[in-house]
Symmetry: C2
Subunit: 261 residues, 2 copies
């Protein structure tokens, strides 16, 4: 089962080039930490990326909340990704029909496909959304995560919704390389999906707007997921982001070592 | 039942100021047509809005596909809305947790809440998404549609997903004024939701990426919906947008007159 293999072993067997490179990167850097950089100023976002860069495998962005976004922000983020050896994941949560997401992914002010290694999509529109994104992303060597579950209270991504999402991922394995999920699902036919889990925190459990936080060990060891996504736990409330990122990196990595041993 | 009442009667009973104004506008303009303006150039979008403006009640935008978006585009669109008497609906399909959608709605390059009368959201994240958008939108007199169903093939917005979405709308009636849906649901406790239906076409039935088209009469008369959303049927394949908009306006309005008589 893929959960008991190391990221490095899994990278050797993976067919998608970006997923392969990502698993190698995690092993090389000893990090399964993604920081969710939900900041509204370009300066603050770049500063955060530079601070947490040494500790993360993946920078998760919401590029559409940055008030002073410009192409230079993208250039700086991709330079930082190179400097610190991390990938970029625009958490766009595409959620429209195929024809529309093709435009949203390739065009507009953000041109997400041109710089984001990984992005994600909801399956609520049906499989056309994957087909549309795949048309744009596959020639650029990009890859996609599907939202199979969410960390927020009362989410409708559960039961049959989740089951269908996993089936769609299996159908488009060349482009869909993993899930946003709260737990690892059973492998089938040599599947190896990458599981990323938001709502991770060491110190707090809820934000009053429906978000619920889980401990890194619970996510990586107990639930068998691969990447912990941490936001406000790292830079909220005036925290020292570098110090906190190091703390989460260690917590996530130790849970992983325990899982594969 | 609200489906048998005129838009004008319904406007008099509606508590949300924007929904009220929108129902009045439909009656005044004799239009239940929304044009889905999925264009990637600012010039083309403004030109289309000006051409179809006289025939529509609502311009539906995907502002994030416009390559040369700037504040002047927003200024021109809002000026055209005033000139031709229509409202603007940014079809953002918000789909994230409450804390994130608050930022996506209010901030970033687009500042959607500052100019879009109506926007919409998926309920897959749970009710936090409505709470987050409501915190931003209610003080600005904005309103929200929930995606209860979609027009695309294999959509997961069905069954329990749809039922829960309708319950959430009832819980936040002061802000949620209607649905993206393929049919009208039963009223309860004096409900009056506005039903908008995409995937409407007079001449074609599918696009090969999962989108499926229905006739205006089927949508308004048979299914009891209120607004037909038409995109490529109006401006695709070199069509004369003004001429087509007039044709759809008449088809939609005649079906409505037949329904309420």
């Amino acid at each position: 089962m893929s959960a008991s293999k190391s990221y490095l072993e899994r990278s050797k067997l993976h067919s998608n080039p970006t997923a392969k490179a990502f698993l190698e990167l995690m092993e090389r850097k000893k990090s399964n930490l993604s920081v969710a950089a939900d900041l509204t100023s370009k300066h603050a976002l770049i500063e955060l990326a530079d601070k947490v860069g040494p500790y993360i495998c993946l920078l998760k962005t919401h590029i559409d909340v940055v008030d002073d976004f410009d192409q230079d922000l993208v250039d700086q983020l991709t330079a930082l990704a190179k400097k610190h050896d991390f990938m970029i994941f625009e958490d766009r949560k595409f959620a429209d029909i195929g024809n529309t997401v093709k435009l949203q992914y390739s065009s507009g002010v953000y041109k997400i496909a041109s710089w984001s290694d990984i992005t994600n999509a909801h399956t609520v529109p049906g499989e056309g959304i994957i087909q549309g994104l795949r048309e744009v992303g596959l020639p650029l060597n990009r890859c996609l995560l599907l939202l199979a579950e969410m960390s927020s209270a009362g989410t409708l991504a559960k039961g049959d919704y989740t089951t269908t999402t996993v089936e769609l991922a299996r159908k488009y394995k060349d482009f869909v390389v993993g899930f946003i999920a709260m737990q690892r699902y059973e492998d089938r036919d040599g599947d190896d999906f990458i599981y990323m889990t938001p709502g991770v925190g060491l110190d707090q459990t809820s934000d009053g707007l429906g978000q619920q936080w889980k401990h890194p060990r619970e996510v990586i060891y107990d639930r068998g997921c691969d990447v912990i996504i941490v936001g406000r736990g790292i830079y909220g409330n005036g925290r020292d982001a570098a110090k906190e990122a190091k703390r989460y990196q260690e917590a996530g990595w130790n849970a992983y070592l325990e899982r594969i041993k």
